[in-house]
Symmetry: C2
Amino acid sequence: MNTAPRSAPSRTGALDIGRLVDPRAIAIIGASNDPKSISGQPMRFLMQHGYRGELYPVNPKYTEIDGVACHGSIAALPVGPDLALILVAARRVPEMLRQCGEKGVRFAIVYSSGFAEAGEAGAALQRECADIAKAFGIRVIGPNCQGFVSTGANVYAGFGAPFGVGYRRGGLSLISQSGGFGCALLLMADELGIGLRHFLTTGNEADVSLLDLVDACIDDPQTSLIATYIEGLKDAHRLVEVANRALDAGKPLLAWKVGNTADGAKAAASHTANLGGASALYRTAFRQTGVIEVTDVADLGDYAQAFEAGRLPRGNRIAVVTLSGGAGILITDACAERGMSVPALSAATLERLKPIVPAFASLNNPIDLTAGILAEPKIFADALQIIADDPNIDAVAIMAAAASGGVAQAMASAIVRVYGTTDKPMMLAWNARHDMAREAYETIRAHGVPLYATPVRCGRAFAALSDYAQARRTRAAARDAQPRELARYDVDHARALLAAHQGKPGDLTEHAAQALLRDYGIATPKSALAHNRDEACAIARAIGFPLVIKVQSPDIPHKTEAGAVRVGIRDEAALAEAFDAIVGNARRHVPHARIDGVLVQEEIRDAIEMIVGIENDASFGPALMCGLGGIYAEVLKDVTFRLAPLTHDAAHAMIRELRAFAILDGARGKPPADIEALVETLVALSAMALDQRASLRELDINPLFVLPAGKGVRAGDALARLLPCVTGAAGTAESADAAGLAAALHENEHGAPAVVDG
Amino acid sequence: MNTAPRSAPSRTGALDIGRLVDPRAIAIIGASNDPKSISGQPMRFLMQHGYRGELYPVNPKYTEIDGVACHGSIAALPVGPDLALILVAARRVPEMLRQCGEKGVRFAIVYSSGFAEAGEAGAALQRECADIAKAFGIRVIGPNCQGFVSTGANVYAGFGAPFGVGYRRGGLSLISQSGGFGCALLLMADELGIGLRHFLTTGNEADVSLLDLVDACIDDPQTSLIATYIEGLKDAHRLVEVANRALDAGKPLLAWKVGNTADGAKAAASHTANLGGASALYRTAFRQTGVIEVTDVADLGDYAQAFEAGRLPRGNRIAVVTLSGGAGILITDACAERGMSVPALSAATLERLKPIVPAFASLNNPIDLTAGILAEPKIFADALQIIADDPNIDAVAIMAAAASGGVAQAMASAIVRVYGTTDKPMMLAWNARHDMAREAYETIRAHGVPLYATPVRCGRAFAALSDYAQARRTRAAARDAQPRELARYDVDHARALLAAHQGKPGDLTEHAAQALLRDYGIATPKSALAHNRDEACAIARAIGFPLVIKVQSPDIPHKTEAGAVRVGIRDEAALAEAFDAIVGNARRHVPHARIDGVLVQEEIRDAIEMIVGIENDASFGPALMCGLGGIYAEVLKDVTFRLAPLTHDAAHAMIRELRAFAILDGARGKPPADIEALVETLVALSAMALDQRASLRELDINPLFVLPAGKGVRAGDALARLLPCVTGAAGTAESADAAGLAAALHENEHGAPAVVDG
């Protein structure tokens, strides 16, 4: 995007790749004089492509390689080079890095394999490399990577045939965790005429990560588009921040995340040993921040073409213009499936079109001008202009017929003429065989109109462009929105409560979890803990029937399976019978379970059961979940995720993504549910997730009863899991246990564990 | 598939296209001497490609065209030609067809537009053409089509640049409802080197349909693969039969069905006016019969390559061999997402591989031999051979690295050598740029190894091959299966019951629908119809509490919304109160509703609520539906379909496709449900759907209570909609009303409508 603001790389801690991509001198450690070997290739590629800085091969076996003086050791080099390429066996890499550090090298690329991807011994070697890099302040790329290309200074520092190709300069920076696959993408982009800025492979990422490099490319004025190939991000928690920077900078970020099935994830783990968060969280992060997801090699080129054209649609309304009805149906399907709208043309546009188009043309959108119009290219051009000018239309897709020769050329001329008069995106799918419309293709490409081989690919690219434009609008709206005051939460109280439980065996009991929820303003059903039948009856009289009762034990997380729950209790006799029954069941289910009591709770009716929760992902950090509750949550997987923090608008959007939204919204004559209260609950959980991230691993409210509009929500059952106690925090936990716990359980008299009489 | 049995085209009523694709003489009616005009092109293309039969242009304006004598009228032709190409304006087409009929023409292609796609007047013209065709026994293709190509006799009878291309002969027959899009597919297939048998466009299908032509191509010995582009099938009810014939003949049938979104379907309707059944039923029919669904132009070529290689996998276990881990992850994702398995190699295979592969190779499947192996092509070949020979593996996918020149050629040689030693399918994804591995590509292609540009496309093609092989196995198993005796249904009784209701306003009441279900052995809860409170209490005493009560009215199909249902009634007092309340609600909801009584029914507990049903689709005929019940059915759309008739095995498969299957199978500690009883219910509904297809439009059982295993099912609520009464059948209905209805309602005393006292 040409109008993007550029920011200088001055942020604290940010990686400055200036001397990586434009090094004054490069050492090639372990350089070979066999041009076919891996260690023989990088220097030759550097020379072949005209790199102008100094080259220092280092290898005691040679005095010169290809006419360049070879040095016996790193220490013997005349200067400390900006960049070292390390091509020695894995076990020798730490020593080479140390010598680089002593010589003042800034960047090192480690090509060698045999590190974390090869088992525990390799992982230890990799940790050693990371430690050395840190000690000396060298930034290390790799190990187990294939190197990089930077077209600005002709740095082709890698091995393999793709480094022998000379790439056209341009705005694409491509960053890949896989060398081989990164090369395939690079070649594909080049074949499509997309110019390259940087191509970087990161391998095992002992030090510099893919996100570090994305971040650096956002700050690179020559980069206009960033594409990534991701197997797993160790620093996934930074993804949202980095992606938002790219969004703000107007530099589209394409991501191809692989390893999404169980088998695929296993394969990814054994490839570059990059383990990241759950697939669902990648998708979530991408969608939250306008990252364009790529799912095959062709997508990269297709989407890059769309973005390189430099036009974003103002809305999602597309006109589809065809000369053949069949193609129009396809592009309409492809766009409609991806959330774009193919609306009717405005009345004024139809007025202007009708007199000029052929008799059998169809002016419903998709607009089929019919092959007959090819006889008069002028009319085709006029019709296209009228359609492009329609204020109801944000973008135009044109499906060109299999025309050839002069007819094809006349069409192409008409298209580029209209393209020059509008700032709306226009894209073209042209099904001709290349040799039938060579000249026309060249006209189209010369004017920068994105051109696709099939309507489906055109539709997909359009949807990518539209999604990105929408993400920019959403981001701008969020920036402009009045900050909304958050509800007041009792953060300290909640922290004390969690500290009191951290390090104890088992999960937080429901009773304690409910206290935690109340600290964040999440209503729970009226309830109290009973230790015997008589207490239960007394509580029942205070709450009123019908009731639900549940055994409370940290050793029985799944109460239903244990027979430790009874619902629909309507009178005291039933209560007494049920009390004995569920305690008996619990004891049979887990013979030595610690039983803290029986929770006596009002029964919530006429509510929709949802599940909401917190997942403190090891890679991404806290994420929120919302979905349909009960056993359906698990089986039907109608759930959505967002990474914290969550705004009210984002919570609304999250709920609307659910297929179950129709149920909340009043399907089949049911009253609409209290969606506002559900939103508040999600926002509160987001705050809790961030406030308590040091101790809270996971929290599920299932079911969350969502009552009819205006009546709020009730947390029916809550399950919380804590992170292991951090050393040194135990003292705090103990004191909180004494001081805070009684208060934490403020609605009940019985804070301490007790034996049940049942 | 080379071993496919061939059947001769001798079936009664089947279309014999022998003289269409190999005509002794062709009349070109409305031929123009302007070679650029649509009506000038077909004759020139026929001459250009060397068609050897007689050509008879017909146009009173000329005496000759391009040196061929031109005739003033059809009547004036020296013989009755086998084929007439009609290129005159729409309004003159009926007269031309009539003259063709009088001259004894067998086939006519109508190119002209302006028929059903252009409104009601055009539709009338089209009907006239169909009538004339029928009267004279001419088979008409079109109108609004682009013609056809048959390579056997060099018949290139169409207009547009793609008819100027000479196509290599081969086994692909391509049949398209869209001319323009059909041409695009044709060009793509040709570019991939796939040889052509026939290319046929069908347009509006006034007479000959796409399925007629598919059927004819199944009988064509030179056709080995059939591909179709479908906007909508008017004769969709034949799809399963025709597709099964293709499956039996071993001729893979590819289908690209467009118009799947609401907007897309609208566009399809206005293109060739081919309206067909619901998208879901196309998918269902495809899946039931091994039709391979295509979703973009590239799929056709990709899948055709896979099938033309002539190898089917024996199972779904694939070995993925790569030189770059990244590509392996991708293909693993692509295969696993589509139901293929990427299993571990056998111990014996690992034993043999370990000593020969490079140190950093990963022998988990996907197997990463690493780029290092390229240094020794012999080892690559040996490793590949060992993998291909593994008995745990049914197919091998190879992801070649971006190798070039001699290294690429050595790899290609190794691959074709192994390919020659095995009958397992092998496919290749090769990411090199074409100019880097030209010779290697040629080697691969020359040996017929399918070659793909990206791993995802390779994985998709593999999955298509595997799905097809699975469909062949399923079909063979169904043929070999012992026929299972069907339960005995009271078909006549049910027919009388439906006849009694047909033609009456409103839907069948639940009470009558339940009687219908019992005729097909589908259990319903104990129930009886009460006309006042006292009757209700008497019934309640017989059935026992808890109970459900529901107002019975043909005017109130959605009882819950009307407040006309009450559940959980536990005693007589509650029953009396509820009776009055729901009758009052019903009267308020629909003031003049006819109320037949109140159904008093046992309440079913501990069951899983499903929805099952019949949809008698106007295009496809009867289809069965099964899904999760309650409001979830509508909102979550977890439903599957099958076209009737349904075998027990197919019903089992249908249930297993549901996401909700886990719930039936005993998720979260629930007892497994009575899946056998659910299967029996679906098979019974299939029988009902076929038996009663003349009167039954739609039937839903929602909920169908599926009790724990061994306890059967109960139809909780049933809604039936009837087709309009066919003229002449009213008498039957009346007599059935008198004779059969009392018997039909055999479980209750009150068969006739009655006024409620409430």
